[in-house]
């Protein structure tokens, strides 16, 4: 009811404006301050997922001093609350609104088409929709490179992975980790233990202990805290930071890491809104300039030859000559999945629910 009258009002005023010969004015005029809203599910801390999300809107504030005002909500853990808060951000005049996790995607998919006064972007959302853009990182490019380091450094030829949830994002990351390792060390295998949590220090520690007990000597994983690295350091084995650099905490035994960098998503969307040409897009970017992944400095104990090998592979991935999921690929049971000369298409990587040959462990299913 109210919607239709408002639309009617807009239509009539627009018609009136045209009739009186008023000039075209974009929804957002250049001299205004762009209001941006962001909702974090957890608390913003010094590292981990929320930290890298926050780095992105901080980059926005730095890039547009005085021209962008970012309103940040953190600790919005209840999904029931998201709908109200996204709507409130929109009615308060935020023209660009970011969701920071997949858990907010369902709410945004429902809301974005109705709240046309704002544009929406959801990190880790599945597909772009009406008035809703999504962006996600090709984390497998990072894990393929860290896998090279792991493959070179392992003595037992057993690598370990602490899995958060068996979602495609985690599955393709761990698959590529082993593929990277096997590209330099065909004898490498990967053991997987599931924590069933993004952040759960107790379970992560148990998982690390279990992997080390099974002989793993280079560990990585998907949860976003330094806990795994610290637990690995305690056991005297290498750890690798996946989606985050934990070298400030894991001082001796973090071999290498890659971190997330969403700033180009935020900067790009803000620029488009300011210029009035924002469109809902789906971006899936990895390494390279303007990408969502960044390799970080490695431990001084990583041999220069291995670092050079990683650099070369990085350049090849960025230029497109190296595709981590290129054939021939077999799944865990040995069934062929990708033929020699072919590469897994993006859509199949994004929905990957199978483990590559050499991964030991199963997906928790019923």
């Amino acid at each position: 009811m109210t919607g239709s009258t408002r639309r009617h009002f807009l239509k009539t005023t627009a018609a009136a404006a045209l009739a009186t010969g008023a000039g075209y004015r974009p929804a957002w005029a250049a001299e205004e301050v762009l209001k941006v809203g962001v909702i974090h599910m957890g608390a913003i801390s010094d590292t981990g997922w929320e930290h890298y999300q926050a780095q992105a809107w901080r980059a926005l504030e730095t890039a547009y001093p005085g021209k962008v005002k970012v309103t940040v909500l953190e600790n919005i853990a209840q999904i029931q609350d998201c709908e109200r808060l996204f709507r409130q951000l929109s009615t308060q005049g935020n023209k660009l609104i970011f969701g920071t996790t997949f858990s907010q995607y369902a709410s945004l998919k429902k809301l974005a088409p109705t709240l046309t006064g704002s544009h929406f972007e959801c990190c880790a959302g599945i597909e772009a929709g009406r008035n809703l853009g999504v962006f996600e990182a090709r984390q497998y490019e990072g894990t393929y490179l860290t896998g090279i380091a792991a493959g070179r450094m392992t003595k037992s030829n057993i690598l370990g992975w602490v899995g958060a949830f068996p979602v495609p994002q985690v599955i393709y990351s761990l698959n590529a980790f082993l593929l990277g390792a096997r590209s330099v060390n065909p004898a490498a295998t990967l053991k997987v233990v599931w924590a069933n949590a993004w952040v759960d220090p107790a379970k992560e520690k148990d998982a690390v202990a279990a992997l080390v007990a099974q002989g793993a000597d280079v560990l990585s994983g998907s949860p976003n805290t330094p806990v795994q690295g610290l637990a690995a350091e305690e056991k005297g084995v290498w750890s690798i930071g996946s989606t985050g650099d934990f070298s400030a905490y894991v001082r001796k035994k973090q071999l290498t890491s890659f971190e997330l960098d969403w700033s180009s998503a935020h900067l790009g969307a803000a620029k488009a809104v300011i210029e009035g040409n924002w469109k809902p897009e789906s971006r899936w970017l990895g390494l390279g300039a303007g990408g969502f992944l960044k390799m970080t400095t490695s431990s001084p104990d990583l041999p220069a030859s291995v670092a050079a090998e990683m650099k070369a592979a990085e350049a090849a991935i960025v230029s497109g000559t190296l595709k981590p999921f290129a054939g021939p690929l077999k799944d865990q049971s040995g069934a062929p999945k990708v033929a020699a000369g072919a590469a897994l298409p993006d859509q199949e990587i994004r929905t990957m629910t199978w483990l590559v040959e050499g991964v030991q462990g199963t997906l928790p299913r019923t």
Binding site: L73, E74, N75, I76, Q80, R84, F165
Partner: protein
Amino acid sequence: MPLHFEARTKPSAKMVWLAPATALALTAAAAMIVFASAGLDPVQALATFVLSPLSDWYGVGELLIKATPMILIGVGLSIGFRAGVWNIGAEGQLTIGAIFAGYLALRFGPGDGIWVLPSMIVAAVAGGMLWAAIPALLRTMFNASEILVSLMLNYVAQLWLSWLVFGAWRDPAGFNFPQSEPLAPAALLPVIIEGTRANISVVFALVAVALGWILVGRSFVGFQLRVTGLSSGVARYAGFSPHRAVWIGMFAGGAAAGLAGVGEIAGPLGQIFPTVSSGYGYAAIIVAFLGRLHPVGVLLSGLLMALIYLGGDSAQMSLGLPSAISGLLQSLLLFFLLAADVLVQYRIRYAPRGRSALGAAA
């Protein structure tokens, strides 16, 4: 100190209602100090905190939908609390309600039958009561503490729900994310205020308040429960069964919590996640005491708690205050209430040095 507490001969009826009002006023004052120390205009900040969430119908709907589970459970719990039956397991009973209703919703919801929703509601209430029956049974049979049993069953219920959502109930099209498929329209509670998310569970909460009021204030059972709570010896002498009080108290809380559970999944969630509540069952304990264990009081305190939740989010959004502000104000409110409650049993007496003993004797 010339000021002394003096025991009243009987609790002050006036103070029973004045104490929460005092606590509220003190909380508002403390909030203004917090706002001022954050460099904000205290009056304007307080206005933003309490008024901005309610600036339109949508906001009112959000307040109602947030308050509903706390009011429902608060009314249910207060019936038991009056009889000294300490059900700390509402969180688990809510979760079981969501599981029972969720099973029907996922299994039969897509079939579009009009009986789906009513049977979900019945199942949720039954589930909550069933879960509450465990501590009641252990208490009446073995005298096991219902506080500990009901509290620990919260974890059991939570793990059961996680197991389902991570396993059998996981949405096949959900990329392995731990969440069920969205509930079918036939399994969703109808919205009662157009353009908001306020659904029929708001009406359930009001009905619960009315029923609670009749039970507590107007029925013989309510009288028996209160006597049991005041003195179990007297209750037994009068022939009131303390076991019966345990069963009534636990069932009331369980039924209400189960109903709140279906309200969440068939309402604002519309889907089943590994956690459906995150704390309504515990917040309702505060709501029950803040509302003086009286249904009408619970209604008011539930709305107040919900407003503080909403206001906290608004404060983050408009005032740039940290998210801890909601928790801070809620605990201040409880703190001041407990302090003000002293005045129900005691009065403050001015007695200069040397006369205090006399004053106390009089």
